[in-house]
Amino acid sequence: MGDELSHILPGLRDTAIITCGAYLIGAVLGAFVAAARRVRRRPVRLLAWSLVELVRAVPVLVWLFLVFYGLPQYGISFSPVVAATLTLGVIASSYLSEIYRGGLAAIGRGQWDASAALGLSRRDTALRVIVPQTLRVSGPAMAGYGIWLLKDSALASTIGVVELTYRASAEAQSTGKGMTVFAIVGVIYLLLGLPLALASRSVDRRMRSRWSMS
């Protein structure tokens, strides 16, 4: 088992880069998208909404192929890791924006009222009143999405990123011990997701109102 492990583990680096990179992109971009969906001007709201719907309607694999194989036709090429990170980042922003919206909806109007009545600037209201509360409410779902993104990172293997799944598949092909190899890499994925899963579940128990896939 030690042999297989030493061949698979180096893939951890790219798995980590893609997962963390995409999450960061998604977390920041998602905030802008969520804000755009609450703007007063209808065209902006509609644009943001349709982008989110479009991103979610097309499978992740298709987006990966479009970015990695399609864009070079127009002169835009990325290395596999960068392509995977950027693509998953944009996809993450759609899902995270929905999570943020759920959190925002849970915040009563009174919070905006009180902030306005006190004379807090829009920036202070957003950063010191709204965002902290949104993060508190959305926290579990955000952790849950982190696990989802970890699982999606495996798809990067299809465009040639040498991460965990790619290495596992290569190892299985060369040794013929597919069951062993994938059992090992399966355990690795589970262990990676463990801290997030624990965090998400413990708070999830307190807020038992949503029933969704993650």
Partner: protein, 272 residues
Amino acid sequence: MNSSSPADADGTSAPPLVAPASVGVSATGICKEFGDHAALTDVTLDVDVGEVVSVIGPSGAGKTTLLRCINMLEIPTSGRVTVGDVVLEAVDGQLQQPRSVLAALRRSAGMVFQSFNLFPHLTVLRNVAMPQERVLGRSREEAEASSLALLERVGLREKAHAYPERCSGGQQQRVAIARALALKPAVMLFDEPTSALDPEVGAEILAIMRELAADGMTMIVATHEMSFAKEASDRIVVMVDGRIIEAGAPAEVIHNPSHERTRRFLRAVLNR
């Protein structure tokens, strides 16, 4: 809780809750429409410096909407609001003055809400201190010192490091009052401050409000509490269906209403 008189144990007077410079408020010709529904029609109200006006009336009469138009939480469809020297005018639902004027108005008018609206992610102390730091530009030390003094004044010093969820409704409302007063407003607006509280607890809030009034604060209070309206206000204004139908001295309005609608409302409210 010490709803004490200004003199405390060692003989010195506790500082008044109010900054000495309160101003008058004028709302002229306020109209507010939500879609087809006219929530306020041509409402005019002038409040003198240091005057306490109670606004009473059935639910849906527009009391809350009027208060929210005065501090511009809602921009009126048309009308003018003057707080001290700050004048704001609305035409076709649009404010005619720049945001800086709006900010000035918000600084002079403090508001206390029916549902308290404390920031749940901040301790009681931070709830009162943070707005001072951000709006008045005070340092953290200054803001917290001032906050502690105010919390002391409303009897909640020991709750300074607790979170709002650990405080009872009455305590939360007291914090809310302290938070609004911390910004040294010239006018205080109260939107049914005791409606979400038990009568006993509500009485404590009303006691604080009476102290404020005695200290000379200009106050507009939307309320169902007839005792406060009768005993603590200088004037009562009756609103029905978005209009002011009657106004006058408390005793006059309550015992000798001139409008039939007022009589009906008072009968329902006072004979429970």
